[in-house]
Symmetry: C2
Subunit: 394 residues, 2 copies
């Protein structure tokens, strides 16, 4: 247990271009907010911040849900919070799984002692709402879970028809918006969604650490009608409701500075304007795709189902996945992600999330990837990518 302080250097992180599946680039204003002076979690100034954050989050989620607030944990804590509050042992749950995060939902439901029915399609495909309806099968079902933007595959899933199928048996619809919020439209109320969670480190361009969630009135009714206490004290929304709701009763010490940062990130989103932010994601996704295709690479997901903010690029035969990512990171200071689950070793995940979705980043990445791949045995059309991407911008 010896400790020599001379072994510790002053903190000096490398200046990475974050083009993986998150975290994304943090906007300088968000960084400044993060280190603003800490106040107490019951300070009137902070309570006013909480009100503002809730207002901004409701607007971002497209909902009037009163119970809309950030969980003090990362995205997966948001997933768990949405589920443990409405599930009790023995209840039936249908999970649509087309990637890693649908699988995680099923895992959490099983830990709550629920009967889990999965609708599985291969990683990279979308879920057919009719398949979900068949799995529901007219039976009493508490929850139907689906991922709006699968971070593991880059698939964009349409939600309204699945929510309608759930509503037919009075089931709640749970939607994973971790990678969608702030990158593509999210409209919880219009879609009939009851429970949703997101992350801060994706299209909101805030460091990781918070999980915005939203509970519809129907979900709150299910929560209130529970016969057993929520299995998690930390995530128990009946108590969180007293802190984030009108009473402001102490539950746990909120992560003040992370909440400052989230507030700033949400303000940036609305200052630019959601429509313009979404269009910016599409624009840079188009240029990235043009550049990748000019290089002879292809995307894993069908064109109509692609998320602009997360691009799963097939790794060409004969190319060493890890070596390319390592070269990008260490020689070019660019982070991209590897494949997850069934797509491990098959794809790279290239993120254009929030503040990362900029022309300079797209061109920098394409140039670095082309340079790196041209050093491998793979047959890559060098020199073509930047031209194609630039043309796509015109």
């Amino acid at each position: 247990m010896s400790l020599d302080l001379r072994d510790f250097q002053p903190l000096d992180p490398p200046q990475r271009l974050l083009m993986g599946p998150g975290p994304s680039m943090v906007h300088p204003r968000v960084g400044a907010a993060l280190s603003a002076t800490t106040v107490g979690h019951l300070d009137p100034f902070f309570l006013a911040c909480m009100d503002e954050i809730q207002l901004l989050l409701r607007k971002a989620f497209g909902t009037n849900n009163a119970l809309t607030f950030p969980i003090s944990g990362t995205g997966s804590a948001g997933m768990e919070a949405c589920m443990v509050n409405v599930l009790q042992p023995g209840e039936r749950v249908v999970i649509a799984q087309n990637g890693v995060f649908g699988g995680r939902m099923a895992d959490i439901a099983a830990r709550q002692g629920c009967e889990v029915v999965k609708v599985e399609v291969p990683f990279g495909e979308t879920i057919d709402p009719q398949a979900v309806r068949r799995a529901i099968d007219g039976k009493a079902t508490r929850l139907v879970g689906v991922v709006h933007a699968e971070t593991s595959t880059g698939v964009r899933q349409s939600i309204p028809d699945i929510a309608a199928a759930a509503r037919e048996v009075d089931a709640l619809t749970l939607v994973d918006c971790v990678t969608s919020l702030g990158g593509i439209p999210v409209e919880l109320d219009a879609w009939g969604v009851d429970l949703a969670y997101a992350g801060t480190q994706k299209c909101l361009s805030c460091p990781p650490g918070l999980a915005p969630v939203s509970f519809s009135q129907r979900a709150v009714e299910v929560l209130k009608a529970r016969t057993q206490k929520v299995s998690s004290w930390y995530l128990d929304a009946t108590m969180l409701l007293n802190y984030w709701g009108g009473q402001r009763a102490y539950h746990h010490t909120a992560p003040i500075n992370m909440l400052y940062a989230l507030r700033e990130a949400l303000l940036l989103f609305f200052e630019e304007g959601p429509e313009d932010v979404f269009a910016r994601h599409q624009l840079h996704h188009g240029a990235l795709t043009a550049g990748l295709e000019a290089m002879g690479l292809s995307l894993h997901v069908a064109a109509d189902d692609r998320l602009p903010q997360l691009n799963a690029v097939r790794i060409p035969d004969g190319v060493d996945d890890a070596a390319v990512r390592r070269a990008l990171l260490l020689e070019h200071d660019i982070e991209i992600g590897g494949g997850l689950g069934a797509l491990a070793g098959m794809v790279w995940r290239v993120g254009l999330m929030g503040h990362t979705a900029r022309r300079r980043n797209v061109l920098t990445f394409l140039a670095a990837l082309e340079s790196t791949l041209s050093q491998t045995k793979a047959s890559i059309h060098a020199g073509a990518a930047l031209e194609a991407a630039t043309a796509a911008y015109d």
Copy 2:
């Protein structure tokens, strides 16, 4: 759902002197680390940071436990993480409760379906190890929980005899170190403690958002021998072990910037030197106490059982609790805490935690309190506090 951005002001928090039960004052170096450039959670730079944080935390906790790392949530998430990983339904748990946080332990154990036996003493008193031994009663018991530094009362509890009593029936000892870590000595291995959790926003003077935890090898064996999955996916240490242990397998996206801040806070603690940090807390506690007593006020906890970093001050008869705290906050920019649970309305909680424990802060607070109280009907010895505190420093 209308949103007018003109309603939102640039973030400009008031410059409070944080002398409540936490958060405490954040050291400028910690603030700077917090907003350092974000990297990915699997970046080699960040993985090296994780190693460093684990090394520093082990030293701070006084342990060689391999499984020592920060949970991605606030202190209560640490409490829950320690409990849900080792508890299964039907198991017997003994909780020593002399404040709010012991009560929270009992609540969490009950949610896990455990049989909870409480050893209760009034808020503000210490727990007799013999009473714990009697509650254990020679019966098979999975866990004995106790709070080292009760944030709700300011009581310091001796741990070794309780841990020894637990060991007699092969029970694990769980200790709440939220307010003790970094303020008074914590020696998990020497005391025979198996599970401990802390917070960052108390004596480590870091913003809230992380909960350092430590699991002994005995606790890890209990975890590995489970017959049921851990009820929480987010807090499941079998998977967190793969990220914070050797494999660095992705579990959830770690709160990168909060971890930068924790690393810096731990470095500051060791640069000053634990013995000197503890002595500094004692010194300022002594001066604060002298000042308060000169003013005619008294502390709620017996002198031998007081935490230097959290002082429960009895509210004099005829004084309006909330009005005094409001005046301190709004007229003097000083935050102190109200009483919690059984002590609500009876005490103020005055924190001298970490970076807050400075002479300037003690004198500023005493002057402000004296000024505020002299405006009430209470008979307060005005003018005496600063003199007494200053004398205590000599």
